[in-house]
């Protein structure tokens, strides 16, 4: 839970480089490539290897193209890498939607369908290794027909190439299909046939530390992190890429005595959360951009009525419906500025799956301590990835709301306290009845239209932001050597890529706020001392993060690298953008 500042001291001995492998598998919807990815990741975790997996789909639910990219290594991984070491592809034509996600290098192993004569696209790059061809598909008179499961063959070939034993695969399969052992048995012969082929090329063997690790998605980590922080009520409405937060909680929250409602829409979802939290119960919702937009008015109510809420927003690309399964960092403006009227809220950003748990703890801490809405900005890239992580033990010091007792005085919204936050009156407490309201109110909670009272109440509510700013002044992560002269400022899921970027480019150091609003400005100003050059990097066409910083501090001569989302930014792309001579044109 500590702020993990990954500063490499200026004269530190170079770390032993991480050993890792990037494996990509592309197929059609029915091919079950996601399953291969899942199983490989599980097997890696078993051996104490780290890794992460990202998936990509065409527009069809079933029958479209589908691909997974996974990276496995002996160190914690939160970036899927730039170059593909192993590419398995059942049909070359399926590759076309994955431009930008796969790139071959000289030594890549390419595994293709024996009878596929499709031409590899140029953007894929090329390998000097001979292509390995395998008869995955079954044909009848030139037409493909249902045959043995391709994914079992591919799994076998990759295991074999990695030097992983059959038993590991068998175990992973048995776990995955524990409810259908017969299914596993039915499929093992196909696995074995491919596994026992003679000519399968070998690739780098990775060795884990042997302690089994945990596989978790960003959404699962958010859900579990919230539970660990005390979440006991959740309401949500399905939306990509956030739905698994709700789905995880449907499975896991009742066991700890929590309750969950699938609401009829997002207005209702946040409404229920406000209601439950008015009842004294730590509560949360999770959504994506369109849902967040719908929650706008209710967010104001949470702040105005001083009721703690946590709102997780898994950002996706574009306004309106946009590109639902793609990542972007373009809900920042809305999170910070959205909503009519002046009201305080706090905004946090998620770096990766490991951080997701921590950040949820922090979110509940702020919400419960300050009685206001706290937004947690995740995105499709973090939310949907599977990442291997160390086991966790929950903290015991869960956030606690300050509960009212008669000693705390008669006014719910007292202005004279030394602190802008008042004791929370939990329904059921004798003598504590009051009215919460979205209407401007007096100290007692009674409606008022008095301009002076409105000003005083605004002062009180906004004083919370000062308290939060104080509590969170160190909530940022820095990467790289302290004496590096080039600076990158970024946020959220850019973390993973930048962590590797600074490892390979020691002239750079990076600043990533964990709290975006109120912004840890002092830490930032301190950090940027001594930089010869600074760049902001983000996935937002408008450069929301950059412009937000402009409103806070002097950003003259700071360059903005800002583009629309869709695909996360790779080190390759960052490298070429940083090398480009002209700074991106500023937008007003």
């Amino acid at each position: 839970m500590e702020t993990r500042t990954e500063v490499l001291p200026a004269n530190a001995a170079p770390e032993t480089p991480m050993r890792s492998l990037v494996i990509a598998i592309a197929g059609s919807g029915g091919d079950g490539v996601a399953l291969i990815g899942d199983l490989l990741l599980k097997m890696a975790a078993h051996q104490g290897l780290y890794g992460m997996l990202v998936q990509s789909y065409g527009p069809q639910i079933r029958g479209g193209e589908s691909a997974v990219v996974l990276r496995i290594g002996d160190r914690e991984i939160c970036y899927e890498g730039d170059d593909t070491d192993v590419l398995v592809c059942f049909k070359v034509s399926d590759l076309k939607r994955f431009r930008g996600s796969v790139h071959l290098h000289d030594d890549s192993l390419l595994v293709l369908e024996e009878k596929d004569e499709g031409v590899l696209p140029d953007w894929l790059g090329a390998t000097k290794r001979p292509v390995f061809r395998h008869p995955f598909a079954t044909f009848d008179g030139g037409v493909e027909v249902a045959g043995e499961p391709k994914n079992m063959m591919a799994l076998a070939l990759v295991c074999r190439a990695l030097g992983w034993p059959e038993s590991l695969a068998q175990q992973a399969l048995a776990e995955r299909f524990s409810h259908k052992p017969a299914l596993v048995e039915r499929n093992m012969p196909t696995f074995r046939k491919a596994f026992n082929l003679e000519n399968v090329p070998a690739i780098t063997k990775l060795i884990g530390h042997g302690v089994p690790l945990v596989v978790e998605t960003g959404n699962e980590a958010v859900a579990r992190g919230a539970m660990a922080a005390g979440l006991r009520f959740f309401a949500g409405y399905p939306i990509t890429p956030s739905s698994e937060v709700m789905e995880t909680l449907i499975d896991e929250l009742p066991a700890v005595g929590g309750r969950i409602v699938q609401a009829e829409d997002e207005i209702s979802a946040l409404g229920m959360v406000v209601g439950a939290s008015f009842g004294g119960v730590p509560s949360m919702t999770a959504t994506s951009g369109p849902g967040l937009s719908l929650m706008t008015e209710m967010m104001g109510l949470s702040s105005m009525a001083e009721i703690p809420t946590v709102i997780v927003d898994c950002q996706r690309a574009g306004p309106a419906t946009g590109m639902p399964s793609r990542t972007e960092q373009s809900d920042l403006y809305h999170a910070i500025y959205g909503g009519h009227g002046d009201f305080p809220r706090a905004v946090l950003g998620v770096f990766d799956v490991v951080h997701a748990r921590d950040v949820m703890f922090r979110a509940f801490e702020l919400a419960e301590n300050y009685q206001l809405p706290v937004l947690v900005l995740s995105d499709a890239y973090v939310a949907q990835r599977r990442q291997i992580r160390d086991g966790v033990t929950d903290r015991r010091d869960k956030p606690r709301r300050w509960r009212w007792t008669p000693e705390d005085g008669p006014a719910r919204f007292q202005l004279s306290g030394d602190h802008p936050v008042n004791a929370f009156r939990v329904p059921g407490t004798p003598g504590g009845t009051y009215m919460a309201a979205g209407i401007e109110h007096t100290e007692d909670g009674n409606p008022t239209a008095d301009a002076g009272m409105h000003q005083k109440m605004s002062e009180k509510r906004f004083a919370k932001l000062e308290g939060i700013a104080d509590d969170t002044r160190t909530w940022a992560r820095t990467l790289g050597k302290a004496d590096a002269t080039r600076g990158i400022v970024a946020w959220g899921s850019s973390y993973g890529m930048l962590r590797e970027w600074v490892a390979g480019n020691p002239e750079y150091r990076v600043f990533l706020p964990e709290i975006l609003h109120p912004f840890p400005l002092e830490a930032f100003e301190e950090w940027r001392k001594g930089l010869a050059e600074t760049t902001t990097v983000e996935l937002s066409f408008q450069g929301q993060f950059h412009r937000y910083l402009c409103s806070l501090t002097d950003m003259t001569a700071v360059r903005s690298i800002a583009r629309s989302g869709g695909l996360p930014m790779s080190m390759r792309e960052l490298g070429s953008l940083l090398a480009a001579p002209a700074a991106k044109k500023e937008k007003a």
Binding site: Q55, T240, S268, G271, A276, G428, T433, P447
Partner: protein, 277 residues
């Protein structure tokens, strides 16, 4: 326990003669009859003249935003089922902006009591048409929606499967008190439609006209007969009394999609491999 033990010190800011005064009285009487202690009571509303009511009840009250009282109360009651939770509001709040939440709250059958003070108008915003404003009235007053048929909220509520539905008139104190009491006692979502007058934006005598169009359901009326209930609310008059009370264990009125014994669970293996769009 007396009704006034459940009143705050705030003086209602309703117009003299507003029907909402009666509702405040009837509701606090019913709650007192049921010996609901203030700290065990939550009264939730949206926005409107009628939605000011929670400020006058000694309870953990919440005057929320326009149209969202039901979701907020659903969250509260789900998280804190031991609290007696009453939702109050107007026809605009509940049947216009908030309408989408109503059938869903009913489906969930959370043990809330929802009281709508239906004055057939948007009072607080100065007399625009509400979903229950009558056609003739809209036309003669030049209000918006002069071709829009009014809603029949009680029929909608019944059709959504509500287990307890009653109607009363804001001028009839003993009747209101009794309806509220029964509704609060009912162990599931209960709905009380209150015919309420707005002395400011409805014509003089409006409240009496409502009464003239009303009749009390006869003794022999079977409150457990869903079909009868639906018929009772479709005849253009206002049936007063308990219109429907679902017997324990009976299926909801909205029984269109009953459980099917032949149902087979989906193939879980297939599902795992599907994209999330």
């Amino acid at each position: 326990m007396k009704a006034k033990d459940l009143r705050t010190e705030l003086q209602p800011v309703w117009c003299t003669g507003c029907g909402d005064f009666g509702v405040l009285k009837g509701l606090t009487q019913a709650l007192a009859d049921l010996e609901v202690a203030p700290e065990k009571l939550a009264v939730i509303s949206g926005i409107g003249c009628s939605s000011r009511l929670p400020g006058y009840v000694k309870a953990y009250s919440f005057n929320t935003i326009h149209g969202r009282a039901l979701p907020i109360a659903t969250g509260l009651k789900t998280a804190r089922p031991e609290l007696t939770t009453v939702v109050v509001g107007g026809d605009g709040d509940g049947f216009s902006i908030g309408l989408g939440h109503l059938p869903h709250a009913i489906r969930r059958d959370v043990n809330l009591t929802y009281v709508v003070m239906d004055n057939g108008i948007y009072g607080l915003t100065k007399g625009q048409a509400s979903p229950t404003t009558e056609l003739e009235s809209k036309r003669s007053r030049g209000l918006g929606g002069s071709d829009e048929q009014p809603l029949n909220p009680v029929l909608l509520v019944l059709s959504s499967g509500c287990g307890f539905v009653a109607r009363t008139h804001a001028g009839n104190m003993p009747h209101m008190r009794e309806m509220f009491r029964q509704a609060i006692e009912y162990p599931g979502f209960s709905f009380v439609h209150v015919l309420a007058g707005c002395v400011t934006y409805q014509p003089r005598g409006y409240s009496d006209q409502l009464l003239q169009r009303s009749y009390e359901l006869p003794q022999e009326y079977d409150t457990t007969d869903a079909g009868a209930a639906i018929n009772a609310v479709r005849d253009g008059r206002f049936a007063l009394g308990v219109i429907y009370r679902r017997p324990l264990g009976a299926a909801a009125v909205a029984a269109g999609a009953t459980e099917d014994e032949d149902w087979t669970p989906p193939d879980a293996v297939l599902k795992q491999d599907l994209p999330t769009e």
